[in-house]
Symmetry: C3
Subunit: 457 residues, 3 copies
């Protein structure tokens, strides 16, 4: 097979047939990190570095692994073209990592450029892509339409103004872009930045947040406001998903302590976060939204990066040892039968634990897709195979892009669909399910299931 040809990842006739069933379906993306402002303003991309690398610290990390100096990655001095040339030069060394496939796919599928990315082709790709990216056909909104994105959920803080979501409601993307309620900043009472954040949150909603009730009221207001703009889910990122909730009085005391500037102990912070997650789950339960938890990211472990560049620049890892089962039980039991939940793990050593847990808690508690550094052919494949052997394909919630880059949504979904087609095709070829059932499951996971579970309509 030639590199990235039509049968990319499809090595059997069954896989090809199943992909034929789903390759062209609209995209439903319940989680990404798109820049809503840029999307609303429909500002076009100046060049390929901006479109593919400027906002993607996963690309930065791999450049660092190949020895590219930081000035050519995040430096202020170097031009985008210089950075692109540095990226292209080491790009063949990315082979085997999904980033290698995604960016090549983006070029082929979206920009019609099928050159291999390397030093030799770097300039030709730069110029051709720049010519195209600067036309209206490649503006962010045009790309969303070209990729057939029917629904996509951004990641939004309760302190955000949401004005760009409002503008999108008036744009040609009306009805397609939805906010997601992501109150991590409000939850993370252990952080030094929490008090400042709470002030900002109050200011955003014109409230002085004197007590826990004020705080929760404002969060409920933000939740409502996102709902009016089409939100269907909340999203919570935690290291250990501790969900034991102390009583309200305890939580109030912790809130006051932190507001007064005193530092909470780690045990106190755990209690507050547990209380908080349960309150957020109540908001979701009341509206029939989906409560998403992704746990296990150990952030900013590389001190030199964090010192120089701050958070979200690389240096995030996960640990086989992170506890997940016992911590999740209080919330899962409290909301049993009245809350839709999706669980995402970061370390593949937890795949079986998560599948057993979602299996145990009935129709509403579901396994999300292979997430984060597991979002690759091998990661998706093993998570689907193991997940479905313990829990059920049919109860999973399909794919999310989790991407910062609009240009790349299509490729993320395409890799998932091809990998799923391969997994189901192999089961058909081993006689484990009839082809008709394979087709049904492929369509379900690529479209029907997320549409119904998240309530995109």
């Amino acid at each position: 097979m030639a590199f990235l040809d039509a049968n990319y990842l499809l090595t059997t006739d069954s896989a090809k047939a199943l992909y034929g069933e789903v390759g062209g379906l609209p995209i439903l993306d319940p989680h990404n990190h798109c820049d809503v402002k840029a999307l609303a303003e429909d500002r076009g991309f100046q060049d390929l570095w901006e479109a593919e690398a400027a906002t993607d610290h996963y690309v930065w990390e791999l450049m660092r692994k190949c020895g590219v100096e930081e000035s050519l990655i995040t430096g202020k001095e170097a031009s985008n073209q210089e950075k692109w040339m540095a990226l292209a030069k080491v790009f063949p060394l990315f082979a085997g990592n999904p980033t290698y496939e995604w960016i090549h796919l983006d070029l082929r599928t979206r920009l019609g450029i099928s050159l291999e990315i390397n030093e030799e082709n770097a300039l030709a790709i730069w110029e051709e892509s720049r010519r195209k990216l600067q036309t209206p056909e490649f503006s962010p909104q045009s790309l969303i339409l070209a990729m057939n994105v029917e629904a996509m959920c951004s990641t939004d803080d309760p302190a955000d103004t949401l004005e760009y979501h409002e503008r999108l409601g008036q744009s040609r993307l009306a009805g397609r872009v939805r906010p997601t309620f992501r109150p991590d900043n409000a939850m993370n009472i252990q952080k030094e930045t929490w008090n400042g954040y709470v002030d900002r949150l109050g200011a955003r909603w014109n409230r002085s947040l004197q007590c826990l009730d004020d705080f929760l009221d404002v969060l409920a207001q933000a939740h409502d406001a996102m709902g009016k703009l089409g939100a269907v889910a909340s999203d919570h990122g935690v290291l250990v998903p501790e969900t034991f909730s102390p009583d309200r009085k305890t939580a109030e005391a912790l809130f006051q302590k932190a507001r007064s500037g005193e530092k909470l102990t780690e045990a106190e912070a755990v209690l507050f976060r547990g209380f908080f997650l349960n309150e957020m789950a109540e908001l979701d339960a009341a509206k029939g939204w989906v409560f998403q938890v992704h746990y296990g990211a150990v952030r900013d472990v590389r001190a030199s990066l964090f010192r120089k560049l701050g958070a979200d620049v690389g240096g995030d890892v996960s640990d086989h040892n992170t506890a997940a089962l016992e911590p999740l039980l209080p919330l899962l039991n409290r909301f049993d039968g009245r809350l839709k939940v999706v669980l995402y793990n970061m370390n593949p050593a937890h795949n079986a634990t998560m599948a057993m847990l979602t299996r145990a808690f009935g129709a509403n508690v579901c396994l999300g897709p292979a997430w984060w550094l597991n979002d690759s052919y091998v990661g998706i494949r093993s998570q689907l195979e193991l997940g479905a052997s313990i829990d059920l394909f049919s109860n999973m919630t399909g794919m999310v892009s989790d991407s910062r880059k609009i240009l790349s949504y299509g490729s993320r979904f395409d890799v998932y669909r091809r990998t799923l087609a391969g997994v189901l095709g192999d089961q058909v070829d081993r006689g484990q399910m009839p082809m008709s059932v394979g087709r049904m499951l492929a369509r379900r996971l690529c479209y029907e299931r997320p549409r119904e579970f998240f309530g995109f309509r």
Copy 2:
């Protein structure tokens, strides 16, 4: 390949040849949960729900995952036919999970029904299967003979009367059905039900259990009694397999404390259980029996189910984090060279740890098959491949059904044999072993090894 045709799971010529070697061998099943009373009475099944789902909470769990309401799963009101119709309606959503394959296989192999299970075929399957199940040809004993079960070990409590095992000794199954000594209820001193259980155990053996010696005597009596009925193994289910044994005086004090109705601390309960397991191992060592440990099941995590329906109805999970290595060492070292041990883990993230541990302890400490929610094509395959690359195929102990459903024993073993044939066949095809050695290992794991290790003769 057509769904479940003759080459089900066999995608290469080598796999087919190896399966040809073992597909027809008698079944030796060292662990299952068969209803000995029903088997002794040879009461036929009224219908397919009774035969396939009424006793199988794994089926219940998957029905719940598909949104079937509890009344159609465990409700007292709904008829078996209504439940079957509910099951058949969602059955295509089970595809990918081994339950989908097992029940279809049972229908094909045992009942000669090759219709796909779905809403459309539900009634036809119901009626044809009912007609057949109600004939003597499909009584439990007939099924055991039809499946060529040479030996099978049920799971028996020391307080059980064993009268049905005695009756089986007079039946046409004479010599085929053996009890297994499973004293979990006697071990679980931390449970509220323990004191009542100990009273019942005493009553069963006409002894007042005043002290630890009485208690252990009665257990030894039960062990003897099972031995007379053909038992060759004990079986122990624990969360963390703590096997450090305190001295007898300490154990006596703990026994007395619990008998007096005082609650033990968790640390005390750990000590008692450690003592207990060592004592049980002594009984096995003295008789040359196999000591089976399966650890890591976190039971009844879904509180709503447990409240409504009690234990063994679903809601059991396992955790990647459970400790196993250090806890097992005291017992493995104490009995080194004089006790046959089989270890079964519940979470596949432990597969390598268990294989290393069995590898380290010589010929008598062996790896059991992929167990519980790992008993699937993908689970068996990865456990065999990893297990044999660390330890040895030849030292494993073959398959167990672990099943509550007689109708399904054949299918469980068939999936194992086909998967094993595929794993060995791939090694032959990669030039890793000669076909003759592959054949030897296939026969060994499917018949000779469990026969010799457990001592079925």
Copy 3:
């Protein structure tokens, strides 16, 4: 495919083409346990037991698993021929374990014997191999040259005299054999043997080690001495890789306490070892050497073996639960950008954690190959696939033999190369990378990358 034929492990055309690229490259082996004295003296092997089993406790363990009695494994009475006959008799039971393939490969590739090892062929193999092994063509040095070993690093204690490395510098292997600085004995302050070891270390360097500075000076001297003999790396084996370093004053106090014969608490020993590892890393950083850590071996768990035979005779395992991420961070951060590091894990449940960690720390922190009991087709394959999907193929450091047996180096590298060719070939066949890039990565991992990273030149 016939057993171990030319296409062993190569099931596709792409794999064959890629192996064609690398099968004949010179061997660079940054870690093994060769007997430097025997190599320097170029003493030939008397027989196949001596060459293949006498120094290899991995073989011993598998013999034990097959029920061979200890007298025929490590006994002083039995002859080498008797031991070989015992090994050959059970050898077919090893199939599936890499040892089965390695020894067969050694026979074929090095000795030109392609008989299957079993009872029937045992004597013929014994005699033919003995005839050959006793000729100069099969002396250790001849084997090293025949296997095209361009560089190999032994494992050397700072108290070693290094005289045999000096002799090798004058031999026909000049420039090929390098020491590796392995100061575990100096680090393991918790061991009863530590004080005696420190005395021996002082004696070796003619210094009385009165204080921490003396101790560190002598280690630096040993480091220098090995550097003069071509060393390019240090190597450290730890259970939990705790790398938090206390200040020098604390370390001095711990040193004095231990030297005075007092036992350190476990917490104190952790601190001392953390300090020690950081000091050793400084030595490496100053010289541009590679700092290798392999963690997670739980040693000598089988008490009966340890009592009878001591350490390094089998009974080593690893645990899915061992912590690794947080413990490694202090050292990785302290030396960020100025130390080359290779991380090796022992339990495959840690593969993803390690790949994420190496990914996070830039070009100098790299993933080593599947190590120890993971050094098998299935272990190498899954570590490469998962490792490259998270981190990068191109940043890995290639293969090490980790072997005690010179005769077997070629086979270890050959299995790695064939497995790598299969992994890359599958990616080519799935359209994930062009063949040209696959070829580049194959060559890089098999030769260029270790050459450059370790600095073999």
